[in-house]
Symmetry: C2
Subunit: 457 residues, 2 copies
């Protein structure tokens, strides 16, 4: 494996792509892009500068450019779309699936998105506007408009004729079901492709279809859809409005993909990357600014917590060894609390706890907090005792860590539930909030306990 | 909305389920489970005690029990399976899809899993053993054995007869393609259901099929599969061994679901929940022990970092105000570093950076570190200056934060790449490693800078 791996790593697809773009040889660029994996396409395109990206998309036909955009993530795709002329962007978007168009436009500023929509063909523009109006994590935001629908008095032969006549178009449709509607586009029934295999060709769809089929409302949430596909093993579900009018279909993989995106956003938010994903190919100042916006809030919270130490300066001056343990107590409690935060966020997302069940979470976490607090307190207290040979130092440090661990895990368990009830995002707010409180409490417990026995040091 | 929501939240499905289990009325239990959503089933089952769970699964038929297990997560399902007799567990597993069986057994201890497999019917046991042998995040671990395959000299009529004869069985198959193999089960071609609609019924499959179809190897990784479905808009892909023998199919939603699970594990690991998911319905001591295993490593790292403060005790005693800023500098740097860790982990998972590109990441992060370090250093240094009116305190604190921010973001960007190359899990190891180093450096910079200008305070 070694030499092969080495060779692969030495290849730099972006350098080759960049060279080829500069030759302006469209066919060569297309051949090169076809020869590499989508992952390498994403890598290569992300490393081009804005001008090279612009030239690449201008060089390719709209269909070819659309294929490139399908290979890369929405955030990256939106960055590409932003650098080119709205006319070209519109032509490229017309080649993409309806849900993909909305995802890309949703990543842009409203003005940029509207400039592109204005250049699209009237029908596609209308559809894009409609799809953009839905929240991304609802059935409306996840549905596609590529589906097959027929009227209930049409026959098997009508369907076969239609399928034959539009072979190429339908070959790209992600659809295994045929939907049957009435004249007003209200959903009447569903047919599977295999239901067409056996009946006579003059049979009307209304006699073959499963009436009153499963459906979801256009406003149903991602969790509703996830539960739906957990319960029903289907390849897609029709989406209807409040009047049962068929608007689109949602595929199970779209639901799983959005779930995965949410987990990613949660992870990034929890780590202090907010306001959308950051890629290192973005401009330095924009990366820096986005990270600073979160850090500068954090520094204010930190100052708040540290003010507790400032208040107890005299105690600290009297027993300088305490300064060694202050960061340890606050850091360890923060870690314990974050574990409880993670468990609460996970249980909330699986529906295993309800935001109102504060007492249950408190009971479960406080009891765990006592056990872990005692264990960690004995450990750290022991270290403090053996270091200075002073039992009171051990008691103060160990006792503070034990008490603060109970506070941290209890609070860590409760915070995501409280934030959820307050309709705030637990992934963004839990950790800074928790850390501030556990820092303050940690400093307070160590220093106030010490000041009680100051004459024993 | 308010009253409805209130009402829903007052219902406690687990209390009702518990009552009904105690009446031993199977039909009533089944009717109740049918009446609630899968999410409420998961919630209710998770809140039962082990004995009630045992009684529930014993009361239901294996088919009904399998439906309950399909509604809940694998980790929960494994907990359920563990509490019942192996005979019953085997009977229930035989009712589940092949991939689901392997997922559940994979969550159990090897001994428990083998005890159950030994009680399964020989054919199912053989299949379970085979599926368990594949890594969960490979094509082998993600594939299902429910697919339709035919020999190349069979005709359209043969297929239709087979479909008619096994209507019920195939209705549950997640399959939209028919696979064509030779006598040795080697993959020859693929057909879509709609390809059967038009040809004469005596046509041989070999003339209809798409020859040499897309396929994946049984050892292909999750990322390979994800890229495959990004590139090819298919409802499934056949999985073959090195001799092109057909072993199963992988569906795109299984790939997306596993991706989502990986994001979740990453988030949980990053927050200090390791060794599988934790649910609050688990026994207290096992929850406590799992969390402690991570925390006790952390406390050792913390002691290491704090030893820097111990070394500089005299400096600290001379300028006690520094003790206020020590936790702030280390905490802020930790936050900055974690942002860089998150960006690196994200870029790695999207393939936008290669583990060998240390210099690229270093250049990108160091320059950002300088900007953010100066910004945060000026802010915190300003606070220190105005608090004590001492310019040197401001310079020491601000300078230390600035330098340590550069260290933290550079290191934070590099650590996931280095861990990936060392084949360690960045989600688990990055954060403790980073925090220890940035704590040590932070304490060192503040205290060593201060000791240089000790006479100015």
């Amino acid at each position: 494996m070694e030499p092969v791996e080495l060779e692969r790593e030495l290849q730099k697809p972006w350098e080759e792509l960049s060279t080829q773009i500069n030759t302006d040889d469209r066919q060569q660029v297309v051949a090169f892009l076809d020869s590499i994996t989508p992952a390498d396409t994403a890598l290569a395109v992300s490393r081009l500068n804005a001008e090279e990206q612009n030239r690449l998309l201008t060089l390719l036909s709209p269909e070819e450019a659309a294929e490139v955009i399908e290979d890369i993530s929405d955030a990256q795709g939106a960055d590409l779309i932003e650098v080119i002329q709205p006319e070209l962007a519109a032509a490229i978007l017309e080649e993409l699936g309806s849900d993909h168009v909305a995802d890309l436009l949703g990543e842009l500023d409203e003005d940029d998105a509207n400039a592109i929509i204005d250049k699209m063909a009237p029908e596609e523009a209308e559809e894009a506007r409609q799809f953009l109006a839905y929240e991304p994590d609802t059935a409306g935001g996840l549905m596609v408009s590529e589906y097959l629908d027929f009227l209930s008095d049409q026959t098997v032969q009508d369907v076969l004729d239609e399928l034959q006549a539009n072979r190429e178009k339908y070959a790209e449709y992600d659809v295994q079901y045929l939907y049957v509607t009435d004249e007003d586009n209200r959903l009447q029934g569903v047919l599977r492709m295999r239901d067409l295999l056996f009946p006579k060709r003059t049979t009307k769809l209304t006699t073959l279809m499963i009436s009153n089929p499963y459906r979801v409302n256009v406003n149903d949430s991602l969790d509703d859809l996830h539960n739906f596909f957990e319960e029903h093993n289907l390849f897609g579900v029709p989406v209807v409005d409040d009047d049962s009018r068929l608007l689109g279909i949602v595929l199970p993989e779209a639901v799983e993909e959005e779930k995965s995106n949410q987990s990613t956003d949660q992870f990034l938010g929890f780590s202090g990357i907010i306001g959308g994903e950051e890629f290192r190919s973005m401009p330095l100042l924009s990366r820096s600014g986005r990270r600073l916006s979160w850090l500068s809030l954090n520094i204010v919270l930190n100052i708040l917590a540290a003010s507790v130490i400032a208040f107890y300066q005299d105690t600290l001056a009297a027993v300088i060894a305490l300064a060694v343990f202050l960061p340890m107590v606050s850091d360890m409690s923060g870690c314990s609390g974050n574990q409880a935060v993670a468990v609460s966020m996970r249980e909330l997302s699986l529906g295993l706890v309800r935001p109102t069940e504060l007492l249950r979470v408190l009971a479960k976490e406080a009891s765990l907090g006592v056990i872990n607090g005692v264990a960690l307190g004995v450990l750290l207290g022991g270290v403090a005792y053996f270091w200075k040979g002073n039992a009171f130092l051990g008691l103060v440090v160990g006792g503070a860590l034990a008490v603060n661990t109970v506070v941290a895990v209890s609070l860590g368990g409760l915070i995501p539930l409280l934030l959820k009830r307050a309709k705030l995002d637990p992934a963004l707010v839990s950790s800074p909030l928790l850390t501030t409180v556990t820092d303050m409490c940690g400093f307070f417990f160590v220093l106030s306990f010490a000041s009680l026995v100051l004459d024993k040091f």
